[in-house]
Symmetry: C3
């Protein structure tokens, strides 16, 4: 079972016909990036990333998306094989805009194999996706649900531009985001900058899977200390064992998901972070910040 | 047979000794990026990308490059195994500058396997390549020439900096390009921004190959909706079937070509686009633009 | 035996208990990037990159790091499996800051397979790593030490921001680096811009391995002319022969190392360079510069 550290799973009800019914509310939120620095963002059900949707192969799902934003929106089910009218790219596809105050029910069967997918707004993406309208969608693998000595984490990467804070300034406050010629100055994992990122907890001997996703401007190379990992999944689809290579840095480009797996055999507190130096700062200040978390042995 | 949507193939004549003789004219052109926004670009034979050169393994080719630009130039046959004096990087290699008003005949045997290659100027590349001096070169695969239910498309990715248009401004006109600290604000597939990009037409049941190439500053992650694809070629060379992985987003870095293949089994109008949010706008304006096209089922 | 063109290997002494003892001195240096343009950089033992550390599997090493910088520092052994207290990320790991005027002895066994690794400062990386505090660490392969017709080169990629030189200006002098909103304008291989980069010398028939490493902001796609190469190693670890693909451009993201191998069968002077157009200029001036070197057949 996948855990998204710091982010809740999206609950669902099972309808009489067996449909799994989920509700996502797109809305304005005030969100703390790090230590008293809040942004006026857009998220789903109170958070950015939105809550993680967890489904199983062959599920039939209905996801009601309620729009409480001041502008029209939509959701694209990134990586999922869905019918054209459920793919969420209006007006190009025959899939609707959702006007403010309205909702749309996306419904489809899960045809994809177990793996890591995403959902995100697909209207004016340079605004809506940079404002925070994205989340994770996991097709769970029934065979790993009760596996002992196994940890499975989802980590979504984001970047933010606060125009009102000059480089190095970390004055607490509530800030607007900038979308015109944005210079990204805050970098998050599951919505938080280090030191607010949630550590990945492991035990000695665990097999640890970490799934990364990214939909924004930069391509983030995530580097793990103290361990070498196998690359086991790409854009949701599993990579066969005879084709897996070993690395300690995985480049997560915009639009990609990558799943990596390692054996927890070297106890300690281990950084796992974007290797671009500015992305491990908070607004360029000295000290460690940004897109940086740790793997902690209990 | 590869088709480059929106771009012509380069014609040739067969000389008495069997040589395939092509002529490329490097010249200033006025080129429409999108909806009345024209640039003063540099191209070959009237277009940017220039016309696609299509050859077969073991062909002996002679490509006459006539320079009608105001500056000296050259052509590098990107990815092809050619002799050093035909590789087009003067004065470092023993391969000439082509002065304005002059020409040079590049001639060599095609030693590469069937696949996707490129040609581009290799003098002052930060100006000449960003001005538009590039094109595709395909080594055709004799075995796929008459294959039924098969489509094969070439898509070349470019980015452009128009300094005179502030972000969001789409005033029609003819504009100069900027090469000093350029901030790229228009993004094209085969020379056009969406909605001027040409759709990839497919029929249900087709095997569809799409080949991407890029030689400029950004690395573009191309994301397909509604389908998963196999990665079948890299920098021209085929990837053996047992080594192909499945993805829906392929990062096309500067200098790379990637070939992907998918089965057309999900009818609709499907986006295929760079996933960097600013790259699917025209100059940062709202709405869909830039490096975005659709796969259209007939 | 790996050669780092233009950079010395770090000498060592073998202690009575068999430990290989190395000494690295972090210090301010004045370093020539290209043709009379010097920077006030930070390096190790007088150079940036610092001297290459060469070890063998199962070696027990002690590396004394003496800090002659005006600020505290540390070293992270990038890609090596070391104990947590030797990994060099204070104060997050139980690994110390090294205060100015002090030293620390990092000691560990080499558990990694033969391959390409790096070392770099891990305190305020957006300053210290961009100032030049990095170097290569090679775990040598005993089986290739005396192989005939074999060349093995390490090439470390760096970028530099000199704020006092407007684009195109190449006035000789000694310059400070810029760390606030840096716009990188000089790009180096083993510390030098072309034409100061050292050619890779090969002979006809050689098998040539080239190892790239990068720890900074940009992801550099390195393109070789006249040859196709196999990708044989990733982040230090070998890629099995049945999984190696053929390319002519390899994207070296921040935090990655990649090893490529080709047969020298096409004599000439062949460019091997970053394909991002601005990265093969010196400060945007016309002509070839930057992250560009040649492979020269003797």
């Amino acid at each position: 079972m996948v855990i998204t550290p710091g982010i809740r799973d999206l609950p669902y009800v099972i309808q009489t016909n067996g449909t799994k019914f989920f509700t996502l509310i797109a809305e304005e939120i005030t969100w703390e990036l790090v230590n008293g620095i809040f942004i006026k963002a857009w998220g789903y059900n109170g958070s950015t990333p939105g809550p993680t949707i967890r489904v199983y192969p062959d599920d039939y799902v209905c996801i009601r998306v309620i729009n409480r934003l001041p502008v029209k929106t939509s959701i694209h089910w990134h990586g999922l094989i869905v019918p054209n009218n459920m793919d969420g790219v209006p007006p190009i596809e025959p899939s609707p805009f959702i006007e403010p105050g309205h909702y749309f029910d996306y419904h489809f069967t899960i045809h994809n194999p177990p793996g890591t997918y995403m959902y995100h707004a697909n209207v004016d993406v340079a605004v809506q996706d940079h404002a925070g309208l994205l989340g994770g969608l996991i097709v769970e693998d029934p065979s790993t649900q009760h596996m002992p000595k196994y940890k499975d984490y989802l980590c979504l990467l984001q970047e933010w531009a606060i125009g009102d804070l000059p480089q190095g300034d970390l004055t607490k406050g509530v800030y607007d985001l900038t979308f015109v010629k944005p210079e990204f100055n805050f970098f998050t994992i599951n919505g938080r900058c280090y030191p607010l990122t949630v550590p990945l907890l492991v035990e000695y001997g665990d097999t640890v899977k970490v799934r990364f996703g990214n939909i924004q401007m930069n391509h983030h190379p995530m580097h793990l200390h103290g361990h070498q990992f196998s690359i086991v999944g790409a854009d949701g689809f599993p990579i066969a064992e005879h084709m897996q290579i070993c690395k300690n840095t995985i480049l997560v480009a915009s639009g990609e998901t990558w799943d990596i797996s390692f054996l927890a055999d070297n106890p300690g507190i281990w950084p796992f972070h974007c290797h671009m130096p500015h992305h491990v700062t908070n607004n360029g200040a000295l000290g460690v910040g940004g897109m940086f978390m740790t793997v902690n042995y209990c």
